[in-house]
Symmetry: C2
DNA sequence: CACGCCTGTGAAACCCTTTTCAGGGCAACT
DNA sequence: AGTTGCCCTGAAAAGGGTTTCACAGGCGTG
């Protein structure tokens, strides 16, 4: 592996000059040409580790997601990756498994590796601690979920609005006992979606108590949705529609409904977030589409600005969701 | 950020001694204790960039996959990540998009970053070039797909056997005109699966020509499967079953079948590789289950051995698939 | 002509850790 | 007592870039 000194020797200049040619310093054209030729001839590419050490900044960013198996986060990761790749940043993918301890370990690594920046879909709104990297001067952007503990840039979706629109749609289609399956307390997306759902129902004249009866919190996994849906179906007056505030929970809910013989659209089902290949599900599934890829793109772009040294005031970018009504919410009976 | 010198000063020793305490050199217990206390008090964690520079080895490995949106590769990535994480390795995820040029760029980055190792699901059997990292002493393990150009360790699944079993199953269930949708020539998995399919048919007494009539190659995406299936359905004697050698292509095929009103199991459908939430598809989908997570685990473990300096002869680990017959291959008529 | 300023350049410092090397101290042996 | 050998330790080198600093030379100005 050729080093910068090899190139310098071959071009008859000092290593400092080579560095300047490569990084845009002022060098006379003639020398610059010689350096470039020598570099090409030797197949030189700078050792990024050495560069990182000296500049105290690496060309890698960390992306922390709670569940890489969820297609929402893979789409987001693609958005991040495509954007980062364009400016030569590598993306280190870290799967936190919704585990705050695991998340903390990854954040420590990011600090020890002097990573250029961190993108994080926080495992917990209250317990995720982003102060460490922020204090060390590593830019942090929260994506999808915003933790409360640190002041960072954020890119989120309008969960509340999307949920409100979703539940309003169920109301409009004539459903009366509309349930909500949402994630655990303390996760901002779960809270916001529940809030939107409640707002839509209250506006439609539903009593607060009624809302509460038909709301279930569960772990945001397929099994969580399944268990919660079964609970709801066991009520004296089971719901006639369900707003599932999480895509994987929707899958569990659908399974429970099928087992109980209460298939949509008789019992309406509306999913917040796409299910992959939802087009295969029968009847076709109404969803609130989330701009996952765009979320990743926007967050990566924002992070890059910070890495480049932007000192704009903190920003929160909120992307809109879009309701896509299909057959699973065609109406009861 | 505390450095090793700070710790040394605080403990009244030299930096060399601190390094030895942390990395398992011989140090008297008393000193070691002092060093550990000082390190803890200062919250010291070694700068991994400096360490990388000196040791010429980083603690990151690259994982190159052709399509992170495919659940097969996300499961694989999880296996890799969980295993790597256990020994303190970070995983840099690189999405090559089935593009050899993009793949080459990522390999260059891996070399320039002095990464500890590379795991690669090659974009092409013939054009993927793994000689560069191998020549630089960076261990490489091929996973899922093995390129021909370099001599590397590999972890694959028994595609041929799995495919043969799958098609034999279709034969046994009474299907007569069994089609095969597979990936492009030059991708080892596509080739092997087709070979298994053909072997099963020939064994059942089907003529080679007949096999060829009902075989289609397409890009391994949903649209590829859709287009190829439509072609097959337009034949004078359309197939009465299809073995889809790729999970995403299966989705496309199902869509085409539904449009044509030829739903399974009347027309049998067997997918090589899971479709996420296949349990939601009606009728339930017969699949050849791939051990994606285990593939990632095994590959990461193998790579770690090499990184640790193992000089065993090259190994190829082949994992078995399992046929899971369900309703979509219940039989014709 | 003298002075100051500006530009381009190379030497050397620097980033932080690991590793080599040489030496001191001590025990065991001749 | 004098070697020999071993263990532990610290000083210093090494890893490969970037950046600071000082300096040389050219140019413009008073």
């Amino acid at each position: 592996m050729a080093t910068i000194s090899d190139v310098a020797r071959a071009a008859g200049v000092s290593p400092a000059t080579v560095s300047r040619v490569l990084n845009g310093g002022r060098v006379t054209p003639e020398r610059a040409r010689r350096v470039r030729e020598a570099a090409a001839a030797l197949g030189f590419s700078p050792n990024r580790v050495a560069r990182s050490l000296r500049t105290r900044r690496s060309s890698a960013i960390a992306l922390l997601v709670p569940d890489i198996a969820n297609p929402f986060f893979t789409a987001l990761a693609r958005g991040v990756e495509d954007t980062a790749q364009r400016t030569g940043l590598s993306v280190v993918l870290c799967n936190t498994d919704e585990d705050v301890a695991k998340e903390r370990r990854y954040l420590q690594v990011a600090v020890a590796e002097h990573m250029a920046g961190v993108l994080v879909a926080a495992a917990s709104r209250t317990r995720t601690d982003l102060t460490e990297p922020a204090a060390r001067g590593i830019p942090v952007v929260a994506v999808d979920r915003r933790p409360r503990t640190a002041e960072v840039d954020a890119v989120t979706v309008d969960n509340r609005h999307g949920a409100q629109e979703a539940t309003a749609h169920l109301v409009a289609r004539g459903y009366r006992r509309i349930a909500c399956l949402t994630g655990p307390a303390g996760v901002s997306t779960a809270e916001d979606r529940l809030a939107g759902h409640r707002a839509a129902l209250l506006e439609a004249g539903v009593r607060e108590e009624h809302v509460r009866t038909y709301t279930r919190r569960a772990v945001p996994r397929v099994e969580g949705g399944y268990a919660a849906m079964r609970e709801l179906l066991a009520l004296d007056e089971p719901p006639d529609a369900v707003f599932a505030a999480h895509n994987l929970m929707t899958v569990g809910a659908l399974r429970a409904l099928r087992e109980a013989g209460a298939e949509p659209p008789g019992c309406g089902v509306l999913s917040f977030g796409d299910i992959p290949f939802a087009s295969l599900v029968h009847p076709s599934l109404s969803t609130v589409r989330l701009p996952a890829y765009e979320l990743g793109e926007a967050a990566a772009a924002l992070l890059q600005e910070r890495i480049a040294g932007s000192d704009m005031p903190l920003r929160t970018l909120v992307l809109r969701t879009t309701l896509e009504p299909r057959d699973s919410t065609a109406g009861p009976g």
